[in-house]
């Protein structure tokens, strides 16, 4: 019987050429979409092709993309973290609290990163140690983390951050290149190497494809997942520093709904929401696509909530269209 099954299944000893595979890949399609949006935008608005405007536009995605890289690894490993926006709220509140007592920029950065890590560890504890489903745990912590911010701040706000703290969100490294943009590139490279070039990355894919198989091949599944939640928390801390620095104030409602945009970015980047496949370059291009779409619509005076319709349609559309396509193709193939 094993013979019969292995014979009927055709296993090519060589896959398509690398160029062919690249051209047909999701990333190539996405890149084409990004270029198309860029061209359309530059025709519809005279303000689009301006180095400073484009530089401002990068703020639309840099903070979200930082989290999206860590989230991509988490989703590839078959888990999800819906509490990222609430971690931003809590980290930002903690930084604001410390700033009231005269904490300097280095302390604020350490506090932001530490709170992010702690929140990540909290999620990780429930998921990996207690073995609970990450969707429910992070829906719970989504309320809990932001809830703590509300308890601390109520309807108030923290202002009065040190002047040099503004560097992260408002600073420029060179000409129109923002600090956030540089951070985005560095983090993208780190995560790209981590996922695609290290044993850890292979373990992430293995866990997403078959956690039991991964366990039996000697991967410490729970430990890898624990680290992934820590990384997502840490990235939320980094995003919290950038966002707080850019806005210069903290309210408990900061970054509301950002988890949706982060997940959309990851899924748009070609990461399978069920785990097991995806790539960092895909997420990078998806970040640019989302940034360009929201910036282009913004130039056309489309209100934010209407943009969210596009984001929602994008999220469902990118998953639905390929499936619809294969369904139609399969129906046609039948006589």
């Amino acid at each position: 019987m094993t013979d019969a099954t292995s014979q009927t299944r055709h296993i090519p000893d060589r896959l398509h050429s690398r160029l062919y595979a690249t051209l047909r890949s999701w990333e190539a399609l996405l890149l084409a979409v990004a270029v198309a949006i860029f061209i359309v935008n530059s025709f519809t608005s005279p303000y689009f092709l301006n180095a400073w405007n484009l530089s401002d536009a990068t703020f639309n995605f840099t903070e979200k993309a930082m989290i999206a890289f860590a989230m991509a690894l988490l989703i590839i490993a078959g888990e999800i973290d819906l509490s990222v926006a609430s971690i931003i709220a809590l980290a930002s509140t903690a930084m604001g609290f410390a700033a009231q007592y005269g904490a300097g920029t280095p302390e604020l950065v350490i506090i932001g990163l530490t709170v992010g890590l702690l929140c990540g560890a909290f999620n990780a504890f429930f998921v990996t140690v207690l073995g609970l489903p990450s969707i429910v745990v992070t829906i719970g912590t989504m309320s809990l983390f932001r809830g703590i911010s509300f308890i601390i701040l109520g309807d108030g706000a923290y202002r009065g951050y040190p002047a040099d703290f503004a560097w992260f969100g408002q600073g420029y490294v060179f000409w129109v290149i923002t600090v956030e943009m540089v951070l985005f590139v560095i983090i993208a490279v780190i995560y790209g190497v981590l996922l695609h070039k290290t044993n850890f990355g292979r373990a992430v894919y293995a866990i997403g494809n078959n956690p039991t198989g991964a366990l039996f091949s000697g991967i410490r599944v729970q430990r890898v997942k624990f680290i992934l939640f820590l990384l997502t928390g840490l990235m939320s801390g980094v995003a919290a520093i950038c966002l707080t620095s850019r806005l210069g104030s903290t309210r408990p409602s900061i970054a509301t709904g950002m988890e949706l945009e982060v997940v959309t970015m990851v899924v748009l980047g070609g990461v399978n929401i069920l785990g097991g496949s995806g790539s960092i370059p895909g997420v990078v291009i998806a970040a640019f696509v989302m940034g360009l779409v929201t910036f282009g619509l913004g130039l056309l005076n489309v209100p934010g909530i209407v943009m969210s319709i596009f984001i929602g349609l994008l999220l469902i559309g990118v998953i639905a269209l390929p499936r619809l396509w294969t369904m139609i193709a399969a129906r046609r193939a039948k006589p």
Partner: protein, 327 residues
């Protein structure tokens, strides 16, 4: 094992609610007066109705995060219909609300059924789309009390046998769902699909279709609640019931409905909703800032889900049948 376990968890939850009520009454004895308890129940009625719809969806291994947006969109549509046609009778309004809600549920259901997109992605997407549509149709404006007809706003508050209609709708929904889950083939298939989808297929149940029907039910209830909500508070705008979907999921999780599907009961969902309702109404009474609400429901979800997992922990995979038999 299942029927033996469920009443235990409902008893625990009932005891917890009673203990909570006693605790509050030591600080403020008026809280447990029958009239106030009726108020608390009435205030919790929308949560109970939505929790029942969510329960059905979660039982089939799905999740519906779009209920609050569905509620808000339906509420806005019926409010605008009421402004345009003040003479339209309330039963027609209710029918429109239920149909519109069911239609939005059907959109979720079709995407899950026909395209096999994970429910969390579908409903996260439709959640923002529905909210966006409210902005588009209302232009961001509010529909205020004075624009609505008195019949429209009066219906949920009209007292029948001492309780407002809103409460009676919740009671009726609980009864209908109790009968449906226990006595109809749809109810049984919902449990079967969540308990073991493969086995469900072999017994002739269409898994996708059952999930679709669950989404339609959840949507219909969200639509109905949309009308009741807007009429009760006599206002409709883009952000009504913002974040309410989390409270609905919380009620289900607290009520012992397993997020992995197949385990749960109508009684559990109702008690979970009542627990949250009592906490919410007690906070101002015992002088705790309402800003605590969010953190408390978050903690309640975590504690409940940790508790569920402990109680219903699956045994390890059996590798040696003989070894298992000998123990």
């Amino acid at each position: 094992m299942l029927p033996r376990f469920l009443p235990v968890r409902e008893t625990i939850l009932s005891v917890a609610i009673l203990a909570l009520l006693l605790l509050i009454s030591t600080r403020f004895s008026g809280f447990i007066a029958p009239a106030n308890l009726a108020n608390v129940f009435n205030d919790t009625a929308p949560l109970i109705i939505l929790a029942l719809g969510q329960m059905v969806v979660i039982l089939t291994r799905c999740i519906d995060l779009s209920v609050a947006a569905n509620l808000a969109l339906t509420g806005m549509v019926v409010a605008m219909i009421n402004v345009a046609l003040p003479g339209l009778p309330i039963p027609v309004i209710i029918a429109i609300a239920i149909l519109l809600g069911a239609l939005m549920g059907a959109v979720n259901g079709l995407l899950v059924w026909k395209l096999a997109i994970p429910p969390i992605v579908v409903t996260l997407g439709t959640m923002t789309i529905f909210r966006g549509i409210i902005f588009l149709i209302s232009d961001g404006k509010w529909v205020n009390a004075h624009e609505m007809s008195s019949a429209f706003t009066g219906f949920p508050r009209a007292a029948v046998l001492g309780l407002p209609v809103l409460s009676w709708v919740a009671v009726l929904t609980v009864i209908i769902f109790g009968i449906m889950m226990a006595r109809t083939s749809l109810g049984r298939s919902i449990f079967a699909v969540g308990g073991n989808p493969h086995a469900a297929v072999y017994t002739g149940i269409d898994v996708g279709k059952t999930q679709f029907l669950a989404f339609v039910l959840s949507g219909a209830l969200a639509g109905l609640t949309g009308y009741l909500w807007v009429a009760r508070y006599a206002v409709a705008y883009v952000d009504i019931a913002g974040g309410f979907e989390l409270e609905v999921v919380a009620a289900c999780v607290i009520g012992g409905i397993s997020i992995a599907g197949g385990i749960g009961s109508v009684g559990g969902a109702v008690l979970g909703a009542l627990f949250l309702g009592v906490v919410k109404n007690a906070l101002p009474v015992v002088n705790i800032s309402p800003f605590w609400q969010l953190a408390i429901s978050g903690s309640a979800i975590l504690i409940a889900v940790a508790f569920n997992a402990r109680a219903g922990k699956a045994k390890g995979r059996i590798i040696l049948k003989s070894a298992e038999a000998s123990t």
